[in-house]
């Protein structure tokens, strides 16, 4: 068990590209931290630096009480689960799981006991003699998990472990991984580009964009108080609506005087971006906002209305039992549900 601390860790590639700006954070003992962001944001680079597969250009990384910048991956006492599982194709499931232990010089009986224990936990016992090629995607995923578990590491690293699975299996494995991590109480870092995975699994989410950390917080904090327009639009499906407007005197004027959001502006008068989640507005004949609906998307539990407010793109989520038609309608906004962001930097005001 260990906590992971990054102190101004930075990555610059030999060709001068800065893949990761200096970032500092601590992952507490037993916590599952999810690194989330679009492709190329540096989340995998960060994870690989923690694993020791990528060199750290600047800054200090410590796992437990030990600075591990120059420690070999094998000696960091970590375990990693790869996107394509990276199982050794010529070894049986049992050999795959035991290979790391064998290299540590553990006795055969001990290895067998540990592999047995892990395979019981993962329902893999009947497959121990099979080759990876004889297993399904979900089973391979479990073997990769098993290989991580038997090492009894201080830290689990997951590099998009679910992206090769189909949607149904992904949901199931998501829950399994979460449950397993809770049970073992092992610190974990989990990389994904899927915001749903991030929201559902994380104790804390670290949102990355373009090589820098946008926000660190619990799923709830990230969702309720996004630190920037990037976080606001990246986390949550459908994404938050962002509208250009002018703030002043306790309201935001969007286009003409008719389209007004009433909210505290607290001295941030001037051009702003106003963010509203699609589920925080509802059709209401007495509402303030005029909404012109173009398209209706049926999602089963919800209906998504896409259209325009004051000439800007806007979406509204309405429950399935509410009628919806295209054309003009009025909207009401939930009090306190308007997020204000700086018009230029996109930071939260």
């Amino acid at each position: 068990m260990a906590q992971v601390t990054l102190n101004a860790v930075r990555k610059i590639y030999p060709n001068g590209v800065e893949a990761l700006e200096p970032c500092s954070f601590t992952i507490n003992d037993g916590e599952l931290a999810v690194l989330v962001g679009p492709s190329g944001c540096g989340k995998s680079t960060l994870l690989r630096m923690v694993a020791g597969l990528e060199e750290i250009s600047e800054g200090d990384l410590s796992i437990g009480d030990r600075i591990v910048n120059d420690v070999d991956p094998a000696d960091r006492n970590i375990a990693m689960v790869f996107q394509n599982y990276a199982l050794y194709p010529h070894m049986s499931v049992a050999q795959n799981m035991g290979y790391g232990l064998k290299n540590r010089g553990m006795s055969k009986a001990e290895i067998r006991a540990k592999v047995r224990e892990a395979s019981d936990m993962l329902n893999l016992t009947e497959f121990l003699d099979r080759r990876p090629s004889q297993l399904s995607g979900g089973q391979r995923q479990r073997v990769a998990m098993g290989r991580a578990i038997v090492r009894e590491p201080d830290l689990f690293l997951f590099d998009e472990p679910l992206s090769n699975l189909d949607a149904k299996l992904r949901n199931q494995m998501r829950i399994e991984i979460r449950a397993l991590q809770r049970r073992l109480a092992t610190t974990a870092m989990y990389v994904t580009h899927d915001q749903i995975e991030a929201m559902t699994m994380a104790d804390r989410i670290i949102v990355l964009n373009d090589g820098k950390i946008e926000q660190i917080g619990t799923p709830n904090e990230i969702y309720e108080h996004p630190a920037s327009t990037f976080v606001a639009s990246f986390m949550g499906a459908p994404p938050m609506n962002l509208l250009q407007g002018i703030a002043g005197g306790g309201k935001v004027t969007l286009g003409s005087d008719q389209d007004v959001l009433h909210t505290g502006t607290e001295g941030n008068d001037g051009p702003v971006q106003a963010g509203i989640r699609p589920e925080d507005v509802w059709p209401d004949p007495q509402g303030d906002l005029a909404f012109d609906v173009d398209i209706i998307e049926e999602l089963g539990a919800l209906r998504l209305l896409h259209g325009r407010v004051a000439g800007q793109d806007f979406s509204v989520a309405v429950p399935k039992d509410k009628e919806a038609t295209t054309g003009l309608m009025q909207l009401s906004v939930k009090p306190g549900a308007v997020h204000l962001f700086d018009a230029d930097t996109g930071r939260r005001l």
């Binding site: 194709p89 010529h90 090629s133």
Partner: protein, 314 residues
Amino acid sequence: MADITETGVQTATATNTATNTATAAAPTRPKKRIKWETVGDHAVLIAGALLMLVPVYMILASSTHEDILIHREGLQFFFGDDGLENYNAALFEYGGFTNSVNGVTMLVNSMILGFGFAIGKIVVGMMAAYAIVYFRLRFATFAFWMIFTTLLLPLEVRILPSYEVIQQMNLANTYTGLILPLIASATATFFFRQFFRSIPEELVEAARIDGAGPVKFFIDILVPLSRTMIAAMFIIMFVFGWNQYLWPTLITTDESLFTLVRGIRQIMQAYADGSSTPEYGEAAALAIIAMTPPVLIVIFFQNWFVKGLTESDK
């Protein structure tokens, strides 16, 4: 000529032709047509196969006849009665200028050359490819292309300098001198490099986290993964080494180091020297013996061979 059933299945044997004629005579069956393209295709294939196989068969048949008969009438089409004698002579009778070599010795020498060459080449090729693909060497690409250009320089091209080098190292008339210069070429390195590059990066990383150093990774993971590739390489290289003629002729003057391919010529040499009737029967027997091991290897390993060159289980 070949008959074609209505389903397009070709039948070659007389019995099948008979049954087909019988079924065709039945009123319900439509009249079968001969597909001339198929006949043409097969004619070409059969002609090709005969071209390759008939000489081998004639050698086999001739190896069972007396020397005198072959000398008078040429190669034979039918088997004779002297087979046992000829093979016995080919294998166990000491011959040559110094009377120090028999067929078994030559067979052993050829085996040593074939195995030594194939194994040496695979070991060197794999290790070179491992270094080029997996280590951050400064001039790895340059080194690879340097090795690659040696493909343009087979031993026959550099035979004089090679001879000079081996001679000066006092390796003439040794197995080392026989094998070593042949090993130095790029084919195996090239094939293994391509193969290693197709192995996913994550496997290397997983092995690093599992605490496998460079040597362990090579032995525990890379070698087992390459086994079909190794088998394919082995077959090609073994046959290539076995059939070497020019280099062994040049570098071995000691008859106890002669290989089979060379031994055949040695027997025929008697004729050129005009000393006696050449031992045609024995030479033919020796030729058959020389052909057998490569053929067996290819037959037994052909599954591996095809697998190694076409698929990989990653």
